[in-house]
Each structure stands twice: as structure tokens, then as C-alpha cells.
Symmetry: C2
Subunit: 378 residues, 2 copies
């Protein structure tokens, strides 16, 4: 019988001017310090990055996705090859999303019942039925270190009544997820609950409180960045975090731009994931300490400087903006590779600097200086 080391989280330092905090959690595949940015490896690959590139970019934990991996290549296959860590050769922590969000955003013919969701695959139209128990089973078979509860992502805009019913369903499913998880979890696997409730504060409060009663290992904020104004997003996040327990990590799903991350950290969020650094990299939009840089612009044609004057990543240490512009305009795959290496390094470094700033008591000052440094470059 395997020893269950148990998932543990400790908040280490608390900021005085904001609700920011630094902390650490422990998994079977190693410790992770928070705040942390988690690169997204939806299909068992963080796009255009090898595991070595990810390590060099400072990644400590990455995301996988139950919905995508269930449909392709299939869970039994990954399990037979030793689980997701082994399959993609990533020997550090993995968090898997439950598929709730992808059923909301990707699948065709979605039919939600109390029991679960009937849907057609976005790949081949094949019909599937997933219950909360199935999602947990899938994530357990993947062997992820942090599992997410199967939730119903409420669309925006929606009526209060619809949101209330949707949140009720999420709470019901959360309970079933927890039951399934506790019966079969192994090797210190953690399960996070997801707070829904759309933009309605009382629904968010009710959801956060009820989930807390169930006692999850961590709490995520879901159903955000789905079309609502950014100010509302921030408001809902601050409101929800204030209800969540101090001794559990808080995870803002799918957030966001660097400035959003600062905002959320200030509200007390510990964990982030977003496709923006890798997707923007492939589109030639680079994040730098001087602001956003659109590499195709003519002003960089002869520019011998690195992308980011303050960056120590492989791309910035070895290549000029002029070369990166040439690669991008020529449609070279190397453009995707080098741009992704830079953008992920930038994101991860900024979040690490946030962590250090919290520990050194100057998070607010770092936040302000970061914002001042972001000029419009193009």
C-alpha cells in the first residue's frame, strides 16, 4: 500500500498593505511556492515547449485537461503508460482541470442533467456522458497531483435564477466529487472545489461557504473572464476570496494578463493559469518589462536588442528582435519556440518576483513600479 503523504498548504508571509500572501504547498511530485503561475499543457504538451524548456523557464507546476485527454489519446492509454507525468515526461506537479469549463466552451450538443453532462466531442462528434464521479476517476487515472471538482460553468450574461440553479448543481456535483475522491485518492492527491455563482455576490458567498463546509484541499474561482467587465471580475474575486479560509490555497482559473495577476494577488489569490503567454507568443505578441511588443512591427526590423532589456531567458540571451521578427515573418516554427520560451519565462519570473516582494514586505511598491514600467511600445 502506498503511503499517502497528504496535500499540505501553509501561508508563510502576509502583506501588510494588501491581502497578498506567500505560501507553499506539498505534493508527491514536489513542493510549490505560491503565488505561482502554471503554464497550460491542455493536450499533454505546453505548446511549443519541451519539458526542459519549461524547467528553464522556471515552471514548477503545469496544467493538464481531463476533457481533452479523455477524448484524445484516452485515459486508459495514458494510465497504461504510467500516468500523465510519465506520458509527457514531466516529473513535477500537475494540476488537471475537470473538464467543466471545456464542456461549457467547446463541446457541441451539451445536455446538462442533475446526473451529469451528455455531450458530443468537438473532435469527431462522438457522444459521451460524464458524471462528476467520472471526471474524478479520469483525473485519478491521469495521476494528477491536484484534481479539480466537476462544475457547471455559468454563462455570462445570465439571469439570477439560472445562476442560482447552476450554482446549486455545482454544489451538488462538488459533494459527489469529494465522495469519489476520498474513496479512491492516492499518493497525496488533492481536490479543489470551484466557486461559481456568476456575478451575484450572494450566490458566490453561498457557494464558497457550502464548499468550505465540505472541506476541500483548496478553492478555485471559476466562471470568470467569460464576458463580464473586468471590474466585475476583480470585484467578484475580492468578494469571494474574503469568504474563503486562510489555510487553503486559492486559485483564479484562466487568469490572466500580468496586471490581472497583480490585482488578484493583492486580493489574496495564490495560483494562476492562462493560455495568454503561449498563445500570444505564437501570434508574435511578447510581454516585456518595458511593455507589450508586437514583433512584426517595422520598428524592430534592424533592432539588435533582445526582446526584453531586463530578461535572462534563453531567447533574450541569444537572439535579437531583428532575428525574431525575421523568424516570425518567415513563418518559422522557431519563432513559436523562442517567443513561447520568453513569454513563459516572463510570466513565471514576474510571479516569482511578486512572491519575493511579498516576503520582503514591498509587494505594493513592486506592483506600482511594474505598472509604471509598462509603456505602449508599438
Amino acid at each position: 500500500m502506498e503511503l499517502d503523504l497528504g496535500f499540505e498548504f501553509h501561508a508563510v508571509t502576509r502583506d501588510h498593505k494588501t491581502k497578498a500572501r506567500s505560501g507553499k504547498f506539498t505534493t508527491a511530485y514536489g513542493d510549490v511556492e505560491t503565488p505561482v503561475f502554471m503554464p497550460v499543457g491542455t493536450q499533454a504538451s505546453v505548446k511549443a515547449m519541451t519539458p526542459e524548456n519549461l524547467k528553464a523557464a522556471g515552471a514548477e507546476i503545469i496544467l493538464g485537461n481531463a476533457y481533452h485527454l479523455y477524448l484524445r489519446p484516452g485515459i486508459e492509454l495514458i494510465d497504461s503508460l504510467g500516468g500523465l507525468h510519465e506520458f509527457m515526461n514531466w516529473k513535477s506537479p500537475i494540476l488537471t482541470d475537470s473538464g467543466g469549463f471545456q464542456l461549457f466552451s467547446l463541446s457541441q450538443m451539451r445536455d446538462i442533467t442533475d446526473e451529469g453532462v451528455i455531450f458530443r466531442s468537438h473532435l469527431d462528434g462522438s457522444k459521451h456522458f460524464i458524471r462528476p464521479e467520472d471526471s474524478i476517476h479520469i483525473q485519478q487515472m491521469l495521476g494528477s497531483d491536484i484534481l479539480m471538482a466537476f462544475d457547471d460553468c455559468t454563462p455570462y450574461p445570465t439571469t439570477y435564477e439560472y445562476a442560482a440553479n447552476s450554482t446549486k448543481l455545482t454544489l451538488n456535483w462538488a459533494k459527489r466529487c469529494l465522495h469519489e475522491h476520498q474513496a479512491k485518492k492516492k499518493n497525496g492527491q488533492a481536490l479543489f472545489g470551484i466557486v461559481q455563482g456568476s456575478i451575484y455576490k450572494d450566490l458566490r458567498k453561498k457557494c464558497a461557504e457550502d464548499l468550505q463546509q465540505m472541506d476541500f484541499d483548496g478553492y478555485a474561482l471559476g466562471g470568470l473572464m467569460v464576458g463580464e467587465p473586468l471590474e466585475t471580475t476583480y470585484e467578484i474575486i475580492a468578494h469571494t476570496v474574503s469568504i474563503l479560509p486562510e489555510d487553503r490555497p486559492r486559485y483564479a482559473m484562466g487568469l490572466g494578463l500580468p496586471e490581472d495577476i497583480f490585482h488578484c494577488v493583492a486580493a489574496g489569490v495564490d495560483m494562476f493559469d492562462c493560455v495568454v503567454p503561449t498563445r500570444n507568443a505564437r501570434n508574435g505578441c511578447l510581454f516585456t518589462h518595458q511593455g507589450k511588443l508586437i514583433i512584426k512591427n517595422a520598428q524592430y526590423a534592424k533592432d539588435p536588442n533582445p526582446l526584453d532589456l531586463e530578461c535572462e531567458c534563453y531567447t533574450c540571451k541569444n537572439f535579437s528582435r531583428a532575428y525574431l521578427r525575421h523568424l516570425f515573418l518567415s513563418g518559422e516554427i522557431l519563432a513559436c519556440i523562442l517567443n513561447s520560451i520568453h513569454n513563459l519565462y516572463f510570466y513565471i519570473q514576474v510571479v516569482k518576483k511578486i512572491r519575493t516582494a511579498i516576503q520582503e514586505g514591498n509587494f505594493f511598491e513592486y506592483w506600482q513600479s511594474f505598472l509604471r514600467s509598462q509603456h505602449e511600445m508599438n
Copy 2:
């Protein structure tokens, strides 16, 4: 004034059963042992490979292309950024093709005169005129270690008369290239002549002899693999090499499959380049010591083995066929990266093993055992 170290080539070992030989040449950016396989970096990037990946694959020298780089990003730009080595951060030898072949295969509205070639860019239709002197000037500005003469690539099939005139033009241009090169070369830059003559042995002989009289640093075989039967290719190569001097390297341009390389080495060829390893990698066709492997095939769906059971490359040491199949079917960029790493490693290692076998006196035996090992895997 810079010291001209001079290009030097020495044949070190000669095989007894075939005309194979091992040797070494010296450039300002380092020595290269032959036989050698040179990865193709047409647009200042070997597709999907970082310079570190190339080094790890064992690459000692790579190709650039005067035609492509002249059109995009432009030669003045690369020169202003310190030359091609600096631009793409490849601090080892570079050989540049003159553009003769690309004018034959890519450009629109090609008009050949004794003076040079008027053509329209394949990128934007803009009109250009390139003389042999311009091609040399372009390659000098790129700073390549081995320049190729500007030639007229004879199409196949063609009449004897057309081929004779085309070869005459190539010889005339070769003389002008040499003149331009000798006046302005620096830092040990070498210039290779290109033997044309289509499938006509007397034209090949005449071209090889006349080029030899001009005294180039090396000799290439051009105008091959343009549609003629493979047996004819082999015959023309063996015939031409027999006329070329012993003390200069011989380069078979654009060749070929691994089995072609063995054939050419046996005929006395020293240098090879081909887009096949990287292009096939992107299409999911992998070279292995057990034969060619089409990664999308269903038989690899659950296969935990590495691509090649005898390979030490990064891809084979870290990933299963099942994972690589998943990446390929999912359209992940990482499929291109990992497949390219493997195929280039395979090519470079096979040519290195050929070199060692020549030195150890068992090239013929290695050739035969290689052919026996190549089963139909799919």
C-alpha cells in the same frame, strides 16, 4: 587586417573496398570531419530546431541560402547585425548555397542571360537581377565559411544541346565567381565550384575538368535529383567523382535518403545536405535503425518504446512512440520539435558511424548491415 587562415582539406583514410574516404576541413569557425551531413537552415533557421538542439544532434556545419536571405530579411540587415553566424546565433561553420538552384525551382519569370538572371521574387513578385558577382557578394556579406559558385541548374529531361549550352554558362559564371571571390574573400572563406552537365557524361567530364583548371577549394555535384532515375544519379555521381581531384572535398547537393548517402560515400563523396530529415519529421515520417516509421499508424497507439530502439537522442531517451503519435495527431508543435530532433540526430549519427567505419576499415560491412537493418515497419 584580418588574418586569412585559409580553407584546408585533407583526406585522412581511404577505404579499400570502395572509393570512400574520411577527411577533415578547416574553417575560421572550426574544423569539420568528413563525411559530414549538413542540416539545412534555408531562412536562417533549421526548421523547428534551436542552435542548442542542433549541437545536441551533433551538427558541425549547417546550410544557409543566399537566394532566400537576399529576399528576406535582406543582406544589408544581416550584415549590419554581424553576419549570419551572429544573426542566427550559430557559432560553427556555415555553407551557403548561391541561389542557382532556388532560381531554378522557386522563382517566377526567370530570364537567363549570359550576364545573369532576371527573376521575380516568390514572396512578393518584385523584380531582381542577380549576376554571379552579386551572388558571391551576397554570400561574402553573409559571412559564410563555404560559398557556392552561382550556377545554372539544368532541368531534366533536356536535350544534349540545351545541356551543353547550360553547362557552358555555368563554367563562364564559375570563372566570374572565382574572380570576385579572390578579390574580396576574407577570414578563410572557401569557394566551391558546381559541376553541371545533366545526365550527359561527356558534359559532366568537361565541366569537372574545366572547373578543376580554375582551382576551386572544393567541388559540388549539382543538377541531380531533379527527376532523373536514381540509377542515373548514382552513375553520374560515380563518373563525375572519378574526374575530381583527390585533394579537394566533394559535395553532393541535396542528397538524399540514408541509402543514397551510403552509395555516394562509396563513390567518394564527402559532404551532404538534404531537407528530408526535417521535412519528413514534420510529416511524421521517422528514420530509425529498424527502418522508416510512420508515427500516425495505429500500431504505435499504445507503444511504450522509443522511436528508435538504438538511438540516444533527446526524443528517444525521454518519450514513447505512443506520446509522439498523440502529439502528431493533436497537431502539437512539440511533434515537429521532437521528430526533427530525432531525424537529424539519426542522419548525423549514421554519417558519423560511416566516418568511423571508414577509419576502422569496415565501411562496406557497415553499409551492408545498415541495409539489412532497414525493414518495412509499417
